[in-house]
């Protein structure tokens, strides 16, 4: 039964990873843009939630109402005025610029909040759980995280498949030059995509902050899990990010179960191994389509 429990907890943990991965997957899938500051942005969102909850005396979920629009706006402006200048056939400039942005965020957080670990208190939902069987209990908060991840992906899926803006996003992903012939401003499309990516990473960061304590240097680890989820699920595939997140989550929790005598690192090690196995055996990811020539 402990194994079943580990799998259940892993699937729920996958919701958080999927939230991390969504923004990465969108930016890469639509504009071939790799944002190395993604994890640091999530941690930034968590710290901003600390400040917002303290200043306004509200629950972290309420703080999302401020932070998510702020992040979306920030993503739009950054893409329009900074990231857009780095995009081109050579991926290196965007990688360097976002890497630099990550360093700036980490140090600014260190300067302002100190290196102490922080946490976000969301109240009783954090500890409450629903008992499925005698031995398996599911926490309300992990359940909520997974629910939010699924809701975000469903919403994005609907926007992409049913709306005029969504068709413009996909057309731009296929061929920005031809999309321009149709009257689509690809720079604006890219800015909107980045706004959505930032909004989702803000949600991911605040949920991370409620789930566990965090410090200014935790961004790169979050980035790594996000990337692993994206690669396992399939680059640019929205539902792949959920599958990838779940596979990664299950690998970590089951890995912990295998190696109970070691610390938590052993669990993440199994996640990395699954990631490497997928990369070696199915490089397009579990739900990914093979790249067209």
């Amino acid at each position: 039964m402990t194994w079943v429990n580990a799998v259940v907890q892993g699937v729920l943990l996958g919701g958080l990873f999927a939230l991390f991965a969504t923004g990465l997957s969108l930016a890469f899938g639509i504009m071939r843009f790799v944002n190395l500051a993604h994890g640091d942005l999530a941690v930034l969102a968590a710290f901003l939630a600390v400040s917002t909850t303290a200043a306004l005396d509200v629950n972290p979920f309420v703080a999302l109402l401020v932070i998510v629009p702020g992040f979306a706006f920030g993503g739009y402006v950054l893409q329009r005025h900074v990231f857009a200048r780095t995009m081109g056939p050579d991926p290196l400039p965007s990688i360097l610029v976002t890497f630099g942005l990550g360093v700036v965020i980490q140090n600014a957080l260190l300067e302002h909040y100190s290196a102490d670990s922080q946490g976000l208190d969301a109240g009783s939902i954090e500890t409450g759980s629903v008992r499925l069987t005698d031995e398996i209990a599911v926490g309300w908060f992990p359940l909520l995280t997974l629910g939010v991840a699924v809701a975000v992906l469903v919403a994005l899926q609907l926007v992409f498949s049913r709306t005029r803006a969504g068709r413009a996003f996909r057309a731009t992903a296929d061929d920005p030059a031809v999309a321009r012939l149709m009257g689509i401003d690809d720079r604006r499309v890219h800015a909107r995509i980045m706004a959505i990516a930032f909004a989702t990473v803000a949600v991911a960061g605040v949920f991370l902050g409620i789930r566990q304590t965090f410090g200014p240097a935790d961004g790169p680890a979050a980035l790594l899990f996000g990337f692993e989820a994206v690669v396992i699920g399939g680059l640019g595939s929205l539902w792949g990010t959920l599958v990838g997140g779940m596979v990664l989550g299950v690998a970590q929790t089951v890995g912990n179960q295998v190696d109970v005598q070691y610390d938590v690192l052993s669990g993440t090690l199994y996640g990395h191994l699954i990631f490497l196995a997928v990369l070696a055996l199915r490089p397009q990811g579990l739900l990914g389509r093979r790249e067209r020539a």
Binding site: R167, D174, V178, M182, R292
Partner: protein, 236 residues
Amino acid sequence: MSALLEIVGVDAGYGDFQALFGIDLGVAEHETVAVIGANGAGKTTLLRMLAGLVEATAGSVRFAGEDLLAVPHHRRVDLGIALVPEGRHLFPSLTVEENLLVGAHARRPGAWDVDRVVDVFPLVGPLLRRPADVLSGGEQQAVAIGRALMANPSLLLLDEVSLGLAPVTVKGLYAALPAIIGEGTTVLIVEQDIGQALSVADRVVCLLEGRISLEGTPADLDRAQITAAYFGAGAA
């Protein structure tokens, strides 16, 4: 008939390579003009310049009274210019219907919608739900023309419609042209298939090495003149 498009002294090219030299060309409203010429004569560059994919380095272009060169290229479709690019370039991950709907992104008012495109190109009807990347060349070309029409253009630029297609397919595509012209659309056709071009055009312009070498109505021009203008005087 008033001039819809006035090209005066336009140079254009790619980086150091100049493809067009001092092009002067006027196109009247509701006129169908065919641009012919050998490979590399600058025909495609001319259309791409009008659509904004290639920058003009000298000269001026007025379209419906506006200075076209000052308009960023994603705004040119708003003015009523739609290009069917050489090689079709459908959006492969979208369905045929979605490709058509993206063509209408600029929301210009007019007679063209998905149903009207299917009327004119009946072969598109059963394909609407298919992904665009599984179509045959002729089907892709029909969808590409339909996608451009969805913008309700006043000037339709057709680049090498017949390229790589079987003659019977080309004939089918050209059969749709009267319906397009009937909507009042001005059409500028680039074509290597001279016979096809002469049969539909009110006026023919021949390009040779980036310059206009001949201009006239199909009735006025004889085969020898066209051959001379097409290949250069030395070949005549």
